[in-house]
């Protein structure tokens, strides 16, 4: 007989927090894995360091070259991978929960395709600078997301209609992107495709700081909307009957999800697939029915960091991180599906 899962209840002052043991343990294990991966990433490079040097540099015990290498050169990239990975994972979780579809991610609302179109136009047509590239990408992505939302709006936005309109608009932009790549000069086309795959090359402390603050605020908003999210997973009618105002809640989720992706895209290009795969891996590790945000964020961070490590140090030539996230995330989710299938036998 199943009496439900074992829970951990924390009571302090007048607040009680009820956590499931399994999810506490999974999150703890993921956090440890993230920390180990971060130390490994900080150690590795053309100037190899020991774990002790890295830790003492982080707590301020080193000066000179070691301090510069760890804190000034390698740390921004590692922090960027962690923060961006977590942001992408949560944005995917918000969309999958909102649309009740495991295939949904911010790509559904056309953001990724739109930002790629904007970037392609800047790179290939007006031959613009890096700042213009970021502007073009954000403008393209936002314009597309707004267009999809408005086109899907008819006395409120229904999940299914949003999906269909998103498919239509994304397909048109995909075609436009293919056409732009096809007509471009080969070298420029390859450069554009490399940006489109997403890369953490040249991420500086400034970008990490600005992006990190935005992402922290957005993650807080996402965490606050996790309760209506869970009720809306049961269906719009049920959520309404429980006092959730469905349409404003949905608009809020769209905005948070798209904004999370936008911040990452501005800094690093569209890193594919984390938003799709991290929520799926997270819920399989915790074994819940719905989407859970904390494990998803940790899985996203770990995935992005590990992928960047592989892309920089293990691949024969340095690759954009987006290519590795796709392979790593896809492979691991495939493995989870495989073991899950065996367990059900």
């Amino acid at each position: 007989m199943d009496f439900g899962r074992r829970v951990l209840v924390l009571r302090r002052w007048r607040i009680a927090v009820r956590l499931e043991w399994r999810s506490v343990i999974v999150c703890g294990a993921l956090a440890v894995a993230v920390a180990c991966m971060a130390v490994l990433a900080l150690m590795t490079g053309s100037y190899q360091l020991s774990p002790g040097q890295v830790v003492s540099a982080l707590v301020g015990g080193e000066t000179g070259l070691v301090h510069d290498i760890v804190v000034e050169w390698r740390l921004p990239r590692v922090v960027a991978a962690l923060v961006f990975g977590a942001a992408l994972g949560v944005s995917g979780a918000v969309f999958q929960s909102m649309l009740r579809n495991p295939l949904a991610d911010p790509g559904i609302i056309g953001f990724s395709q739109g930002s790629y179109t904007g970037a392609l136009i800047v790179i290939l047509v007006i031959n613009g600078s890096y700042v213009q590239l970021i502007g073009g990408a954000l403008l393209g992505g936002m314009a597309t997301a707004i267009a999809v939302y408005v086109l899907a709006y008819r006395r409120g936005v229904q999940g299914f209609r949003l999906i269909i309109v998103g498919i239509g608009v994304s397909a048109m932009l995909d075609s436009l992107n293919t056409w732009l790549i096809l007509k471009a000069d080969l070298e420029q086309a390859i450069a554009a495709a490399a940006w489109g795959a997403g890369s953490l090359n040249g991420v500086s402390w400034d970008q990490v700081a600005i992006g990190g603050v935005c992402i922290a605020v957005l993650l807080l908003l996402a965490a606050m909307s996790s309760r209506p999210m869970r009720q809306m997973e049961l269906g719009d009618d049920t959520a309404v009957s429980q006092g959730v105002r469905v349409s404003p809640a949905r608009l809020g989720m769209v905005v948070v999800g798209v904004a999370l992706t936008a911040v990452v895209t501005a800094a690093s290009g569209p890193i594919a697939f984390i938003s799709l795969v991290a929520p799926q891996i997270g819920r399989r590790l915790v074994r819940t029915a719905g989407i859970t945000l904390a494990p998803t964020a940790l899985v996203g961070a770990l995935l992005c960091l590990a992928a960047d490590y592989l892309a920089q140090h293990v691949a024969p030539t340095p690759l954009p991180v987006g290519i590795i996230t796709v392979m790593l995330g896809g492979g691991y989710l495939g493995y989870l599906l495989f073991t899950e299938a065996r367990r059900r036998l």
């Binding site: 579809n101 495991p102 295939l103 949904a104 086109l151 899907a152 008819r154 006395r155 229904q158 299914f160 209609r161 999906i163 269909i164 309109v165 498919i167 239509g168 608009v169 397909a171 048109m172 995909d174 075609s175 436009l176 293919t178 056409w179 790549i181 096809l182 080969l186 070298e187 086309a189 390859i190 495709a193 490399a194 795959a197 719009d236 009618d237 697939f273 799709l276 795969v277 799926q280 691949a315 030539t317 690759l319 954009p320 290519i323 590795i324 996230t325 796709v326 392979m327 995330g329 896809g330 492979g331 989710l333 495939g334 599906l337 495989f338 899950e340 299938a341 065996r342 059900r344 036998l345």
Partner: protein
């Protein structure tokens, strides 16, 4: 159910039409397809008189205009017809099988499998000829389908949701490997960017003939499983209670999908959106009735493909836009208008 007036999603929508209207609509779709077939022969970057076209088909001579009809417009028209029918049928099957409105040939990893195999053929083995790498495309689709089927199966049967995720995973891994190959090999990138656009131009008919028997087998299978798929739309338990053999139906449907989508991709490259959009439109018109959806999809999909191809020839004359790029620009506005106007039917 028909008395619903509110704007909520209707799970079991009333068919937009009775049986008689459905038959009339099917006839109209057939006429539209025939008109487009003729137009596809008539319209091109150079203007050729209809009498010359007639002579080219039935009284062949060495005239230069006849040559361009026989060697260019006729093959691309036939290729468009065949590929379109295959994509429409495959799309209808995939959506019925997975009960997911997002599903199309890309979802089960088929396109990624084909693309990866062609990237290897072009980038590593140096094959540059369509009749050389078409079998790579077909083989890639086949291997991916088998992997997806294995990943999505348990001894108790297959779960469509897991199969879709498995397809996404396999597709992602192969897609990433393909991009890595392309970004480090400019020649392969150059060749792949035109293949990836999807085109029905410059495909000799010898590429089509070997695939035709496979398509015939797949279409027979598709109609055979349409009854069981109707029952499965109500849920696995109800279907099983009605005597549907779930595992067998799913395996047969997947074989048909692989033959159709793999064959179409082998001939024309990955043409998106046709297989996704046409079954939706068919379902809105005839209601949740698989056999009618197949019939409509098989007629409407080649119409969309041929119309796109014709448009692609004349928009930037004398240059051309590959058909795979035009389909979305024609189809998406129609799809969006429809979903805004009608009560959308879920799956």
């Amino acid at each position: 159910m028909t008395a619903q007036t509110s704007d909520v999603e209707v799970r079991v929508p009333a068919a937009a039409s009775g049986p008689r209207l459905r038959a009339v609509g099917l006839l109209a779709a057939l006429v539209a397809l025939l008109v487009l077939l003729v137009l596809s022969l008539l319209v091109g970057s150079t203007v050729i008189a209809p009498s010359v076209i007639w002579d080219a088909l039935f009284h062949p001579s060495a005239d230069i205009d006849q040559f361009s009809i026989r060697d260019y417009r006729l093959p691309r028209t036939i290729v468009g017809l065949v590929v379109g029918m295959a994509l429409g049928a495959a799309g209808a099957l995939i959506q019925a099988l997975t009960r997911n409105p997002l599903a199309d040939t890309g979802i089960l990893g088929l396109n990624a499998g084909s693309s990866f195999a062609v990237t290897v053929a072009v980038g590593v083995l140096g094959i540059r000829d369509i009749s050389g790498y078409m079998w790579f495309a077909f083989g890639g689709a086949l291997i991916v389908t088998i992997m997806v089927l294995l990943l999505g199966s348990t001894r108790r049967g297959q779960s469509p949701a897991v199969m879709v995720l498995a397809g996404v995973c396999v597709g992602a891994v192969l897609g990433g490997a393909g991009s890595a190959l392309q970004l480090t090999n400019p020649d392969a990138f150059d060749a792949m960017r035109s293949w990836a656009a999807g085109s029905i131009l410059g495909r000799p008919l010898d590429v089509v003939w070997p695939v035709l028997p496979l398509f015939a087998v797949a279409l027979v299978l598709a109609f055979a499983v349409s009854g069981p798929l109707n029952a499965m739309a109500l849920g696995d338990e109800i279907a099983a209670a009605q005597g549907v053999r779930l595992a067998r139906t799913r395996v047969l449907a997947i074989i048909a999908i692989t033959l159709l989508a793999g064959g179409a991709t082998a001939i024309a490259g990955p043409i998106g959106f046709v297989g996704l959009m046409v079954p939706h439109m068919a379902r809105w018109f005839v209601g949740p009735h698989q056999r009618w959806i197949f019939a409509y999809s098989i007629l409407l999909a080649p119409s969309l493909l041929l119309a796109s191809d014709i448009l692609g020839r004349i928009v930037i004359r004398p240059s051309e836009i590959p058909v795979g790029i035009v389909t979305a620009f024609i189809g998406a506005p129609v799809l969006i208008a429809l979903v805004r106007r009608k009560k959308a039917s879920g799956l």
